[in-house]
């Protein structure tokens, strides 16, 4: 081939350029430490680098940030739990002291102070925080576990319990003994030995004391058919005497008495058994929640555990604005709610139709109706009492003093009856507000209808009886007619004519009465169904309420590895139960009672010692002293038992705490293992990443040196070639 100088120049330049490109690539590798400078240099490396860098970012996040954070959280939790464990141990030792029968008043005072101090400590420990976030409050890390300040705010709380929460409680009925003073020792009643007794009742101890007395709780459970059943409670106050709520509960087997001050629902024997028959629902967490109690509390003291951390609850229950349900049954609830709305709509439609059909009927609200029913029952009770008293009064051998007392009571009864009747009338006159209260047909009207029906039916029955007797006569006469003589026959014919006309007139009357009766019966039935609707709606509401329940445990998990999480929080439900405070409350009240009784007893003793032995006053005081002694020994006995059971209770709580500590420790251990593994993985990924994209400096340096040599050689060759031409030699 013919080679011209220009070809040589061009080829040389090309070669020099190729060398330069190569050198540039190597020097870029040297200075950037990367194998490639743009993705198209090696798409495989570039794309793999993206994935590996992403992996490194992720591992670094786990190893350098998430794991240390999880660690600190666990440390804070562990510290708080250890503290809690110590508190529980102290409580147990206090209980052990308290269980000792021979305690001086000073001892009791010390134990009392200690218990109260410890109980406060429990809840302040529970407010432990990690970087401003409360660690025991599940997802609500922005709210402390307990109220920091006292507060007025209405919560509707739904406490979910199971059969085990039903327990027996002993109450010393000390009459008016605690109100004894030297001044009222003559007039004070119920301080004799008979009125002092120990009462055993069943109760549900709610999580809080000082609950709302405005709102009577509702107990909900599912019967064997799976239908929700709602039970109402009657409110009685702890200060009520004669009878006290406890006494009342022990007397009335069906009693469900709500004592707002102490936060208890006292149960009669039947009520207790009814609830004990509720089956365990294994689908609920820890088998709890078969029995639900809905109640309200308005005032909160500093240190009270906030209910939203424990229970399904609404703050401000009367408005829908601020709903704080935590609900894991939302989808089920929605289905039931839909059904509920449909049913409710149908029922309301039905009710409206009836209301329209009978415009003259008076309607009252369901709440009024309930009140009326209650008042009626009270009236009946009063009647019964009155007749018993009258009988006693009229009986021979009743002392005048007793008669005077009876009269006094009869007058009272008359007054009470008037009051009740007035209340009932007022209820009937109230203009019902259909938006708030479900309407009920006036029961007086119903009774009126009933009596009308009864009268008419009585009339019909009489007429029917007459007709059947006439018919009997008719058939007898017909039989006789064959054999009778002419006169008799004429008589019979005349009589038969009478009978026939009477029968047809009876038939006419009966059918006219029936025509009158039918609309009345219909009205009666319609109104009855109208009234039943209210109960049905109530039932639906119960179903719905029952569905809404506490959420599953609120577990906070941190990502600490690829697809690996670790739980960092312990929830309050595991280690800070309401029971701790309530048990302390019980113990404090019992101890206080003992101290008070002891004081009273001492006072009576000193008053007694001041009187002449044998005087009336002395006798009264002696009786009172014996009563006080009995009350004290009963109270001491009870308190000692309470402390004994307190040991077991606190032991149980201590076990819970220990379990939490162990769980926490296990998590820390696991976290350490993960941390080690993450460290390894981090190194591995960093190595992989580096191998993939980083240049090998030694290799690059050698290549660069050789590239430089080649470049110099190329320059030299070009220089030599382009210098000479033939011209120089001619």
């Amino acid at each position: 081939m013919r080679i011209t100088n220009k070809i040589m120049q061009r080829n040389n330049l090309n070669n020099i350029n190729t060398n330069k490109v190569y050198q540039d690539k190597l020097s870029t590798q040297m200075s950037s430490q990367k194998k490639i400078s743009r993705a198209s240099d090696d798409p495989v490396v570039a794309i793999r680098a993206l994935r590996l860098r992403s992996n490194v970012t992720e591992v670094t996040q786990y190893y350098s940030k998430n794991i240390p954070d999880a660690k600190s959280w666990l440390e804070v939790t562990e510290g708080a739990l250890k503290n809690q464990s110590q508190v529980m141990t102290d409580m147990i030792s206090q209980c052990t002291k308290g269980a000792n029968g021979d305690l001086t008043p000073e001892d009791r005072g010390i134990i009392l102070d200690q218990l109260q101090a410890l109980s406060k400590e429990v809840y302040s420990t529970a407010n432990a925080d990690y970087a401003g976030r409360y660690v025991f409050t599940g997802y609500r890390t922005d709210t402390p576990l307990s109220f920091i300040q006292g507060q007025e705010k209405t919560y509707e709380i739904k406490e979910q319990i199971d059969r085990n929460a039903l327990s027996g409680v002993t109450k010393v009925e000390s009459g008016n003994m605690l109100e004894w003073t030297a001044a009222n020792s003559d007039t004070i009643s119920k301080t004799d030995e008979q009125s002092i007794e120990s009462v055993d009742v069943y109760r549900i101890q709610l999580a809080y004391k000082d609950c709302s007395s405005e709102y009577a709780p509702r107990i909900l459970y599912k019967d064997e058919n799976g239908d929700a059943v709602g039970l109402d409670c009657i409110t009685m106050h702890s200060y009520e005497k004669d009878p006290s709520p406890y006494k009342e509960a022990s007397l009335d087997d069906d009693a469900r008495i709500y004592v707002p001050e102490t936060g208890e629902i006292l149960l009669g024997k039947n009520a207790y058994q009814q609830l004990m028959a509720v089956k365990d629902d294994i689908s609920t967490s820890k088998n709890e929640g078969e029995i639900q109690v809905v109640y309200r509390k308005d005032t909160w003291d500093a240190g009270d555990l906030r209910p939203e951390h424990y229970f399904c609850c609404k703050s401000d229950p009367d408005t829908e604005d601020e709903i704080e349900y935590n609900n894991s049954f939302a989808s089920q609830r929605d289905a039931v709610y839909e059904q509920y709305q449909k049913d409710e709509e149908e029922l309301l439609e039905h009710a409206n139709a009836i209301q329209e059909a009978y415009p003259t009927v008076n309607y009252i609200s369901a709440t009024d109706y309930e009140l009326i029913t209650k008042d009626r029952k009270k009236l009946a009770d009063l009647d019964e009492e009155e007749s018993a008293l009258t009988a006693e009064r009229d009986a021979t051998g009743t002392t005048d003093k007793r008669i005077a007392k009876i009269d006094e009571r009869l007058a009272e009864i008359a007054k009470e009856r008037d009051a009740l009747n007035a209340e009932i009338n007022e209820c009937y006159d109230n203009e019902p507000d259909p938006d708030i209260d479900q309407l009920m047909a006036d029961d007086r009207h119903m009774a009126d209808l009933d009596s009308q029906i009864q009268t008419m039916q009585g009339q019909i029955n009489t007429l029917r009886a007459e007709k059947s007797s006439l018919q009997a006569e008719q058939s007898a006469l017909n039989a006789e007619y064959e054999t009778a003589d002419a006169t008799r026959k004429a008589q019979i014919t005349a009589r038969l004519g009478q009978i026939n006309s009477r029968i047809s007139s009876i038939d006419g009357e009966v059918s006219s009465l029936n025509a009158q009766l039918t609309p009345i019966v219909k009205e009666r039935d319609d109104l009855q169904s109208f009234n039943d609707d209210w109960k049905k709606i109530q039932h639906l509401e119960d179903e719905l309420t029952f569905m809404e329940r506490e959420d599953e445990a609120q577990i906070i998990e941190y990502d600490v590895g690829f697809n690996q999480t670790i739980r960092v929080n312990s929830t309050a439900g595991e280690c800070f139960q309401h029971g701790i405070g309530r048990t302390v409350d019980d113990l404090v009240v019992a101890l206080q009672e003992v101290s008070d009784l002891e004081e009273i007893k001492t006072k009576i003793k000193s008053a007694m010692d001041a009187e002449m032995e044998g005087s009336t006053k002395y006798k009264t005081l002696k009786g009172q002293y014996q009563a006080a002694d009995k009350a004290l020994s009963l109270a001491k006995d009870k308190t000692q038992k309470m402390f004994e059971s307190g040991i077991t209770t606190f032991q149980k709580y201590l076990n819970d705490v220990s379990l939490s500590i162990t769980n926490c420790g296990n998590r820390s251990k696991k976290l350490e293992l993960i941390e080690n593994r993450m460290q390894d993985q981090k190194t591995t990924f960093e190595t992989l990443r580096s191998e993939n994209e980083d240049a090998d400096i030694a290799e690059t340096a050698i290549q660069l040196t050789s590239a430089q040599l080649t470049y110099e050689a190329a320059l030299m060759a070009t220089g030599k070639v382009s210098q000479n031409s033939l011209l120089q030699y001619i």
């Binding site: 220009k6 993705a39 198209s40 680098a49 860098r53 940030k65 997802y139 609120q554 001619i730």
Partner: protein, 640 residues
Amino acid sequence: MPSQFFGLNIAYKGLLASNAALTTTANNISNVQTEGYSRQETPQQASMPIRVFQTYGCAGAGVEVFSAERIRDEFYDGKYWRSNTTTGEYDMKNYYMEQVETYFDDDGMNAGFKTIFDQFNITGLEELLKNPGSDKIKSQYVGSAGNLTEYFNGLAGNLENLQRDINLEVKSKVDEITSLAGEIATLNTQINIIEVGKDVTANELRDRRALLIDQLSAIVDVSVTENKVIDPHYPDRDTGSTRYIVRIAGGQMLVDGSDYRRLECKAREDFEKVNQSDVDGLYDVYWNDGSEFNIYNASMGGQLRGLVDMRDGNNGEEFYGMITATSVGEGGAKDTVTVEVGEHYLKDLNKCNLSDQGGKILLGNQEFYYDDWSCTISYDDNGEAKYSYTFELSQDTALNERRITNDRVGMKASVGHNLDYQGIPYYMSQMNEWVRTYSEKYNTILHSGYDSYGKQGINLFTADIGNGEQYAFPDGGRFDTFSYEEFQKNGAITVKSTDDSYYRMTARNYGVQKAVQADPSLLANKYSQGDGVEQSDLLRDLQSLGTDRKKMSFRGSNAGEFLQCMLSDVALNASGAKQFYECNAEIRDTIDVQRMAISGVDEDEEAMNLVKYQNAYNLSAKMIQVFQEIYDRLIRETGV
């Protein structure tokens, strides 16, 4: 016996020949560095001998030079032009892909999608998962969402600028073609003037013309024919003139002898846009007689091809379907045409790249202008999904000269051209698809949950309308989730191009909801209203949206692997363009070297010629001296 002076005449001829050779050498030497110059030679031949009636018969009559010849093999020219055309195409692709690649690059330091998405979905979200109640951390997370949207805005902006640059270059290349055509036509005239009737070659002019074709071949493919002009009266006569024809872009006439055609660029109006993402004023090219110069011609090559591919390349995913219905609007209503589509990229509105400002649609063989369109999904009796687009045709008679007729049903309809290259519209469309799909799924999750205030979650990702306002996208509006059951229940759904569907979100206007930026607490983090601040179940779903292929699949990868998909396209295209360019450039250079090997001036050769012809000249001169001495002897001294 020849003339006594015959020898002197022969020597004189030798002198002339050497002189001619020497001047040619001088010409070659002076043009040694001239681009496109072909070396020339002066071929010599011995003159016709003269018959002398002597014993030796004929006497040599010296030498004669019959032409100055240009040494060139035109076979190599053709080869060079073809390979130069291919090189030109890949030169452009290489140049612009390199820029695209830089935009998509992510090396960990120069933050690209992966780095930013990792900051958002790993670092940001992991911190938030640990502390979902903290406004500060939510704010950081929302900030990193802002980085993500800005990344897309920037990227889309860069690609738009690039498209604009390419468009300008299209214009300059088209202008260059016209100017080259003018020069070639002028040269044709001059060459004919020189060559006509005489047996001469316009060496230098031909060289210059070939050089112009060299330049033209880089821009666009050329084919050249040169025919002799024949005198019809004397077909055997060599008229000396030629007809030189240059065709470009697959055989379209550019230059014919002294005539040439001009090309003009016309910017598209708003209502002529092809792709949603196209910048304003893309050029279409027309001949000066008004007919269209089809730049999408598959046989077109050169830089122009490379530029058009980069500017308009849609990976062969143009709008395409069958006309199923037409309606002639009455009472002022617009004519509409309904087109049923079957291509996968048309069955998802999130992948749609149809212009939202109106455009041109080819119905059968007639082009119509449309103002608006809507997309409908329904099911047939067999439960097969059917997707159709209804176009509202423009009523402007300047645009649509005639109205739609029913006989177009069954014909094919298409918008834009099938350009099987991954150019800027393709990358834009890919980004839009990701942005829309991810945002829609992300927002839907937010909608189903609650924020720190216990209020229902609102959109985080949205798009800016301009003048400070943002779109409020509703849930849904996506076709791949519209099931047969829903169809049976609610009937077909139709989305108009003007509706607030995610179609209106693009990488360019992608943004973060301002309300959430101002108050990050509005970011939903939990599914249950009553749950406390630490609940993060919703955030976990957000996280898995980025990593779980089942929740969001982008081209078969998960959402976080967007860049892997894009980068593999970009890197493969870039390295492909580079390799093709280098390879073709090498071939071109090799051909050029071969051409130079024949036509190039070699210094040594010319030096040798110089010596050679100088010697010959000297010898001829010596010859004359010898003859002079002979005549001296003969005339003065012989017999005198």
